[in-house]
Symmetry: C2
Subunit: 159 residues, 2 copies
C-alpha cells in the first residue's frame, strides 16, 4: 500500500501532536489537548521515557501512529496499554490502522506481556467491530474514574 | 483508629497477595489471579519497578493496600493509575480505604500528575459513591478492551 511502519523518532513529534489533536476533535473534545511538543519530547525521549510509539509513514508524511506504555495487572503481571491508535482521516481504509495495531501486538508478544489493553468509546462501532474481529474482548461492566488536576487540588487542600 | 499508612516493602508482598486474592473473589473472579509472590517481588522491586504501593498496617498486620504506577495521557501528560485499592473485608468502615486513597492522591499531587485514574465495576455502588464524594469523575461512555495472552498468541500466529 506504499506506507511503512517504523519506530517513532524525535522529529516525528510535531506531526504526532497534530494526529493527537485530530483524534480529540473526532472524539468530540477538540479543546482537551493540553500537551505541547516540548512536553511530548521531554516525556517520550528523556531518561525515563513514559511511552513509546510507532508511526505510519506515507510519501514522507506521518499519517498514523500508535502510542503505548507498560502497565501492571495484580492478577496477570506485566501488561501493555495502547493509549492511542490514530490514522489521519483522509488515509483510512488503507490498512494503516491494522498495521500499526499489529506492530503493537507484536511488541507485546515479544515482551511477553500478559495482556494488551486500551479503551474505546461506546459509540465507535467501527473501532469496536475491528477490535472484536482481532480476538480482543470488550468489557462493558467497568467505568473509568478520573481525578483531574483541578479536582486533585481541591481534594488535597480539603483533606 | 490505630492503623498506620506506610510505603509497601518487600516483606509485605505475601500479605499483599492475599489482599489481591480477596479482591478478586469480591469481584467474582476468584480464579483470575495468576501472579505469584515471586512475580510481585521481581516486578515491584527490580531495577525498573513496574509499580509502587502503600499499605495500611493494624496491630502489625497488613489490612489494606493501594497499588499504583505512572501512565501517560496524550491530552494531559503524566498521570497516575491506581490499579488496586483494597481493605480487608473485616476491617472496612474504619477509614482505612480513605486514608490509602488520600496517600495516593498526595503522591500524585507531589509528583505534579495531571490526573489520577482507575476503573470501578458498575455495580460497586459503595465505591462509586465514595469516589464521587471525593470529586472524582465517573466516565460511563468508555469500554475497556483487552487482548489477553491467549488471544494475543492466536492473533500473532494468524497475522
Amino acid at each position: 500500500m506504499g506506507f511503512i511502519i517504523r519506530k517513532g523518532k524525535f522529529p516525528d513529534i510535531s506531526q504526532v501532536l497534530n494526529l493527537i489533536k485530530e483524534l480529540a476533535a473526532f472524539e468530540k473534545e477538540p479543546d482537551a489537548v493540553m500537551v505541547t511538543e516540548n512536553d511530548l519530547i521531554r516525556d517520550g525521549f528523556g531518561k525515563k521515557p513514559l511511552f513509546k510509539f510507532y508511526v505510519a509513514e506515507l510519501e514522507g508524511v506521518v499519517v498514523g501512529m500508535a502510542l503505548f506504555y507498560p502497565r501492571y495487572s495484580t492478577w496477570k503481571g506485566k501488561t501493555i496499554h495502547l493509549e492511542d491508535l490514530i490514522v489521519k482521516q483522509n488515509k483510512r481504509g488503507l490498512g494503516i490502522g491494522k498495521a500499526l495495531y499489529k506492530q503493537v501486538m507484536r511488541y507485546a508478544y515479544k515482551k511477553k506481556a500478559k495482556r494488551v489493553e486500551w479503551v474505546v468509546l461506546d459509540w465507535n462501532k467501527t473501532a469496536l467491530d475491528f477490535y472484536k474481529s482481532t480476538g480482543a474482548t470488550i468489557l462493558t461492566d467497568w467505568h473509568l474514574a478520573q481525578m483531574d488536576e483541578k479536582a486533585l487540588n481541591i481534594f488535597i487542600n480539603k483533606n
